[in-house]
């Protein structure tokens, strides 16, 4: 019964977009250049907004349109724009980061998605929504975002990973519970915005203190020595 055939077209579209979203997370993991990483991130934001809008349509819950718009402006436009501006400013746009064992990373990512599916499976069937299968995807996006932060050494990559996690959260909220209460949505969006701004501030501080954004060089504070 849970076969895709039996869903109306919009829901099929949502699930398709979900697939694209997780795919974009994989892409991010694979990106070598920061600029393209940010681009992929922007695309993910766009996809999310799209999915939200669609589910707003299917679930007749108008306030989702609003959050879709919010997401579009924040994650798909504002933040990517800021990031890419930063990249240009700190001229890192042609910097290429050597990924350690990309194949292993991607395998790990795949198994993470599998794991998240395994974790979420027992609770999925509770949902009455058609988009419930997307919960696993959203959890996967979150985990992949963390994986991204673990594997990258560029501060900007960390920010992207962080925002990707936010994406996953947002997607989870949409797909599992058709959005959070309005006030919470607002608050979250506000926090994300402020966070983005503060990140921007930090890049300059960091790059001025250690003339690069390589987080591995932020290791003054350590108990390990001596």
């Amino acid at each position: 019964m849970n076969d895709l055939i039996h869903h109306p077209l919009e829901e099929q579209a949502i699930l398709f977009i979900a697939a694209l979203v997780i795919f974009s997370s994989f892409l991010m993991l694979a990106q070598k250049r920061l600029a393209s990483l940010v681009n992929v991130f922007a695309w993910q934001g766009l996809l999310l907004a799209l999915a939200t809008a669609l589910s707003a349509h299917t679930q007749q819950s108008p306030h989702l349109y609003f959050s879709a718009g919010l997401n579009l402006t924040l994650k798909a436009m504002l933040i990517p724009w800021m990031l890419s501006r930063l990249i240009v400013k700190l001229d890192m746009h042609r910097e290429i980061e050597i990924l350690l064992y990309p194949s292993i990373t991607l395998t790990a990512a795949a198994s993470l998605v599998l794991f998240s599916y395994y974790v979420v499976l027992p609770i999925e069937h509770l949902s009455t929504l058609a988009t419930r299968n997307a919960i696993a995807v959203s959890l996967g996006v979150i985990l992949l975002g963390m994986l991204l932060m673990v594997t990258r050494r560029q501060a900007i990559a960390h920010v992207v990973g962080f925002m990707a996690i936010e994406n996953g959260l947002f997607f989870a909220a949409v797909s599992a519970t058709s959005g959070m209460p309005m006030v919470v949505e607002m608050g979250i969006a506000f926090d994300v915005l402020v966070a983005a701004i503060i990140f921007g501030v930090f890049f300059f501080h960091i790059s001025s203190s250690i003339d690069s954004l390589d987080v591995d060089r932020l290791n003054r504070l350590s108990e390990n020595e001596s």
């Binding site: 962080f162 608050g187 203190s209």
Partner: protein, 488 residues
Amino acid sequence: MIALYVLICIPLAGMVLQARLGDSRAAGSWNVRINALSFVAALWLAIEISNQGPTSTHGGEFRVDAFNVYLVLLTAFIGLTTSIFSAPYMENERVHGRVTAKRLRLYHSMYQGFMLAMYLVLTTNNMGFLWVAMEGATLATVLLVSLYRTPESIEAAWKYFILCGVGIAQALFGTVLLYFAAGQTGDPATASLQWSVLFAHAHALNPQVMSLAFVFLLVGYGTKIGLVPLHNWLPDAHSEGPTPMSAILSGLLLNDALYAVVRCKMLVDGSTGTQMAGYLMMGFGLLSFLVAALFLHRQKDIKRLYSYSSIEHMGIMTFAFGLGGPLATFAALMHMTVHSLTKSAIFVTVGHAAQVAKTQQLEHIRGLIKTQPAIGWGLLIGTMAIAGFPPFGVFTSEFLVLTATMQQYPWLTPLLLLGIVIAFSGLFHHIQPVVYGAVPDGQMPVEANLWPVAAHLLLVLWMGLAIPGVLSHWFEQATQTIAGSLPL
């Protein structure tokens, strides 16, 4: 409940005000005044609550009961005393040119912002909004950590931001799951994020979802509590920021994160009816406690030393809440209070000590008692109190935790005691040479106001000798709600 709105509006206004004139000479005293106002408001609120019991308002978006009212009071009090300490401290920093006018504005307005976030975290009834406020607290403090713009401080701030950001994101996912569970109970009444509603229908929530949710919430808020192995940001952030901020971080932020976890635990327990949440908390608590105790031995920086001791004590509280019995819960509630009082008092003295010696390096701070007796004694007695010596309150709560453990899991007590001994030896091994001994040259007394220290330590002493009636009443009520029965 007007008191509540007043309480929330004052810091809000203060934030705006200080953003404008935070760099003026009077900013420090203004800060004190604002906090005094909010303390009065908090008192007012407390009186109302103790008269009319748990109250909720604004369509249940805000709810104040015995559990959070005393935390509100505590927050207001520590905010006040710390601001009293902060005034001369920041003045001194300004004189030595370590902070610019712009940063002073930032500092003072963010101080208020942080207080606002704390009040919101405590009083809100909406789990989602609690998350928002918690994140707000991080955002408010992260720029304070890097206030001095030294490479270390920037690094610390960055780590603080990233780690707490990642952590808090997981907490949000947990909240989403919470909402999800609430949505699936069948009746639309429960479909909300209001804690009181969820708590009332906890049994109806799906256990599997709830246990998953709790995992995320615990990892998320646990990062803020500083549970090992999620603690790594904490010593950096505490040691690099301005000391008043370390004081409020240790004294308030950690408490409130723990408060959030406990609220979640109550929901989860109601739903699953198993000990799962309790076991997780016990495990984390014990681990943090022991590891932090060992960390104490290797510190070179006096503020790091005490931030590790904060981790250690948060570990004890988490463990106690995890135990869950009425005795343990009472102990944990009391420990929250005495620990924040003592720890913030210690950070006050530590800040002055660092100014006296012009460094935070332990091996360069010597003979404080001879240089400036008040600071030296404050530090020594504070350390004694935090190390759990009677008649200070910390001893009482730790004693209760121990006996509760003895009754429920006797084989865990040796671990706790071991940890206590290790922690004590680590602390004193470092602090004794700092306060005692001869004065190194170039160590000069500084202008300091030690009323906060005296007030805090006296309070802790009082609580050790006899808990004030109203406070113990609140503790018992809170124990009643959390653990379901009264101690003994």
